[in-house]
Symmetry: C2
Subunit: 339 residues, 2 copies
DNA sequence: ATGAAAGCGCTAACAC
DNA sequence: GTGTTAGCGCTTTCAT
């Protein structure tokens, strides 16, 4: 009854109670080798009886590692990242590692994160999700002096887990082309000033797909904007106000596609009869909205990238890169063109 | 050029380099009082020059606090929790506190979290989001020996920030009743075996609203299921197969409402002409789907609950509770009944 | 297999 | 205002 006098018990106490030295107690508790089974058992029993857990701070100070992994994401309110972090946390906690979360989405937070490095001396490794790093950021991360693994995007500099963005977008483009579309627009989430040589994979697949089909690129059909459904809605408005609107739209993501669908519905334009729309990601709401899209397994990516850091921590650092497959999910928002 | 020899510099080094004692260096660096401005400046300069940051482990060990807040959520892939955690992390990081994330949604994870208490000795406070605790869990949390603050739900035991669920659902019910509906169904996210005396606020508002309008409760119209749009879709199927289907549906959440809308659309039933649907939360996709709903400010809740722990840590522990207002957002999914 | 002892890097009394 | 001195609770050689 009542809380057991929560007066923190130390390892010294446990050692004494078990009739062994602190060294032995430490070995037993940390599951190290060189302890007689019987001794280990006794120590463990005493520890359990007194509800003892080692002080992570002291352990880290003396031992050199923190047992924490820093996870850096640009957002959490977007489904993709929430799902990813949920999967990562699940694996890490199974491994007895803690997740230290850093949200560094908008430019200001991002700058602060990479300049101040709040994770310094606090983590054993860093997991960067969905943030393609600049050279300067890459240099800053190196200061942390810990391993880095990346996920959910294309990163040459670190071991990573990702889909092939270009391949995914190609699957979407192939679908539209197969249906017979030739006047195809893309709404991309990318800075409008980005030069062609550093287009993201999805944009490259768009231009390549057109080129391959012998369709000249009409720059008015290549709309660059923000991510998010509002941006998608506005982009669709621009596309509709064109003298010769597209018969099909490839959205950089499902969320952008949602916005495009909204604009089309409000304009009274029927999908897919008058305009086809295809997204990428297979967001949970895509099924709801009957949006044709390209599926990627986000949860699996999170699990794999988390396992990758665990492996790295274990010292078996293979500088690997895992690329997960994607596939088309045909639904009701795409059909052959009527023009 | 190259990484500055990352050999970790200690406070002793900084002190020596600045020509002061470690104590003074410590005071200067921790922004404590009792240091001559000039001295402080010098220490700070030396520290910056050598790119020094204190060891959190050592500091925690000696000082007694960790600088970390444990944040416990049931999910992250759902918008509500992602948004909440994003807001919390934002405030905490502004305060120089780190966010230790724990996802304890499904029964198994939840049990493990509360039994093993992985956060023990690792955090200065705990923030529980969206998990109404059982008495046993409450007792377990006490073992942590740190302050607890709750958010996103109704919690009597701790200081908390939340909306008034009953009031929010009442706003929805009032709207439906005002429109003239009398055959109103509710799809609730609650275990079907829950006795009436421990209904959640939203369910209470439903039964109370009916009673107030003199409408007898038809238990076949009160559908209890899981959260999530799939559950909502299935519940709507059940409601449609009733001999006398409802003219309006109150969904426990927007996500459930999304599922209901899907079923209605697939059944070719027009909304709101034949059936009205109203949700609660004002999920970003609600606007997209033109769903009438009750708005709550999730981001603000996250910010406030985070500030509450900061206040608590500062010692000004007011056992307060903040209840944020909600309001109806009329959109196109509700209209007067036609039957 | 076990123990003794030396830190890990810092904070907090307590003196001066 | 600044310095001295104990620890904080553990891990880890190095002995035994």
């Amino acid at each position: 009854m009542g809380e057991s006098s929560s007066s923190t018990i130390t390892m010294a106490d446990v050692a004494r109670l078990a009739g062994v030295s602190m060294a032995t107690a430490s070995r037993a508790l940390s599951n190290a080798s060189g302890v007689a089974p019987a001794t280990r058992a006794k120590v463990l029993r005493v520890a359990k009886e007194h509800d003892y857990v080692v002080s992570p701070e002291a352990s880290a100070l003396a031992g050199g590692h923190t047992g924490r992994i820093g996870v850096v994401v640009p957002h959490l309110s977007r489904w993709f990242f929430g799902e990813m972090v949920e999967a990562i946390e699940s694996v890490l906690s199974d491994e007895g590692l803690d997740t230290l979360l850093y949200v560094a989405g908008d430019p200001e937070d991002r700058h602060r994160f990479f300049m101040n490095l709040p994770a310094r001396r606090k983590v054993d490794a860093i997991l960067v999700v969905g943030i393609p790093l600049t050279a300067a950021e890459h240099r800053q991360l190196a200061i942390l002096g810990v391993g880095v693994v990346a996920g959910g995007g294309q990163f040459a500099a670190y071991p990573y887990v990702s889909i092939d963005d270009e391949a995914a977008a190609k699957q979407a483009m192939d679908h539209l082309l197969f249906l017979g579309h030739r006047r195809i627009a893309m709404i991309d989430a990318i800075d409008p000033n980005t030069p062609e040589w550093q287009f993201d994979g999805r944009a490259r697949a768009y231009t390549a797909g057109l080129a391959h089909a012998g369709i000249p690129l009409d720059s008015s059909l290549f709309d660059r904007t923000d991510w998010g459904s509002d941006a998608g809605a506005e982009a669709m408005e621009r596309l509709l106000s064109l003298p010769d609107p597209p018969t099909a739209v490839l959205a950089h993501s499902d969320e952008i596609a949602f916005g495009a669908l909204r604009t089309l519905r409000r304009a009274g334009i029927r999908v897919p009869e008058q305009v086809s729309v295809i997204g990428i990601d297979d967001h949970p709401m895509a099924a709801q909205l009957d949006l044709t899209t390209v599926h990627q397994d986000v949860r699996l990516q999170g699990e794999m990238v988390a396992k990758m850091v665990v492996t790295m921590l274990a010292g078996e650092t293979k500088g690997e890169a895992v690329v997960l497959p994607t596939h088309l999910v045909p639904r009701g928002s795409t059909a052959p063109p009527n023009r």
